[in-house]
């Protein structure tokens, strides 16, 4: 499998994600510049955390106008792997590939902390290595991570089992404690916590590793 990590100006977790793939799950991975116009040859695209364009205006808002984005949309529509972490999640919601929005934390402060997440849906290509309802430790680091969507959207998310990760304790005021969601087809995942920072015991947790392992070898049949 060969994955692309997209590097926008201001992305700063790009290398962390790159190493998680190269060293964590030992798969082929390349950094792809935001000006690139093709993702040919890749099986999936990963959008890293950081502050694309300084998070100016709204996080993720400016990145969606970069050339590479057309290819990200194509991947999403073709059912290929699209994973956005932190700023990557923000970009995916700005793009409309995932519903809702990420807004400033309830207490308006940046939070860097390792938190407990519950795996809400382990029947996806991203989570098949986790047990149902498994509680995992994954770091968060964000100022604009409060997931917001309206009531109708929330119902839809629930009905379609699109809620993938929830915070055990609602650290930022997210609707329904949502930490990560997928699209209906479950090939696009966005999450605020950073699994790529939790792939080695010495960093405090290796619970994020299973997410990446699921990608190369999904052990479940993903529903429809």
């Amino acid at each position: 499998m060969k994955l692309a990590v997209v590097n926008f100006p201001g992305s700063n977790c790009d290398m962390d994600l790159f190493y998680a793939i190269r060293d964590g799950i030992k798969q082929a991975v390349e950094l792809v510049d935001y000006r690139a116009t093709s993702l040919k040859g890749f099986d999936g695209v990963l959008i890293p955390g950081g502050f694309s364009y300084g998070d100016y205006l709204r996080s993720g808002a400016i990145a969606v106008h970069a050339p590479i984005v057309k290819e990200i949309i194509r991947f999403a529509n073709e059912g290929k792997i699209v994973l956005g972490i932190c700023n990557g999640f923000q970009i995916l919601t700005e793009l409309g590939l995932l519903p809702g929005a990420l807004i400033q934390n309830e207490k308006s402060r940046f939070i860097c902390e390792t938190v407990d997440l519950e795996v809400e849906n382990n029947q996806t290509i991203f989570t098949s290595h986790y047990q149902p309802k498994e509680v995992i430790k994954v770091p968060v680091a964000h100022g604009e991570g409060r997931y917001y969507c309206d009531e109708a959207t929330l119902q839809e998310l629930k009905e379609n089992r699109q809620i993938i990760f929830k915070y055990k304790e609602n650290i930022n005021g997210s609707v329904d404690q949502i930490a990560g969601i997928a699209n209906k087809e479950k090939n696009v995942l966005g999450m605020m916590p950073h699994p790529e920072r939790a792939i080695e015991e010495i960093l405090g947790s290796d619970d994020g590793l299973k997410l990446f392992q699921s990608l190369i070898n999904p052990e479940v049949k993903v529903n429809d």
């Binding site: 808002a61 400016i62 106008h65 700005e94 519903p99 809702g100 400033q104 917001y148 969507c149 309206d150």
Partner: protein, 82 residues
């Protein structure tokens, strides 16, 4: 020169955490007759004055960039400036 002033505010259904925080700060400062605070963004865009499709394009710029329709609404005014 055309000056476009754009105001972007959160939809009513979205909790305005900053607005709330500011309101309570204003209360703490001793002004208690305040009933509501909302915080939004304000933009000033300047365009060449011979711009034909300005209104049309400003709409697009707001929809596609300045506001996020999931959570925000916007309005704008176009004025002449030097």
């Amino acid at each position: 020169m055309k000056l476009v002033k754009v105001y972007v505010t959160l939809k009513d259904s979205v909790l305005d955490a900053q607005g709330e925080a500011i309101k309570s700060a204003i209360n703490t400062m001793g002004y208690d007759k305040i009933s509501d605070v909302h915080m939004g963004k304000y933009f000033e865009l300047k365009f060449a004055s011979d711009y034909q499709e300005l209104e049309n394009d400003v709409d697009k710029i707001c929809d596609d960039l300045l506001a996020n329709p999931n959570i925000e609404t916007y309005r704008y005014e176009i004025t002449e400036a030097e």
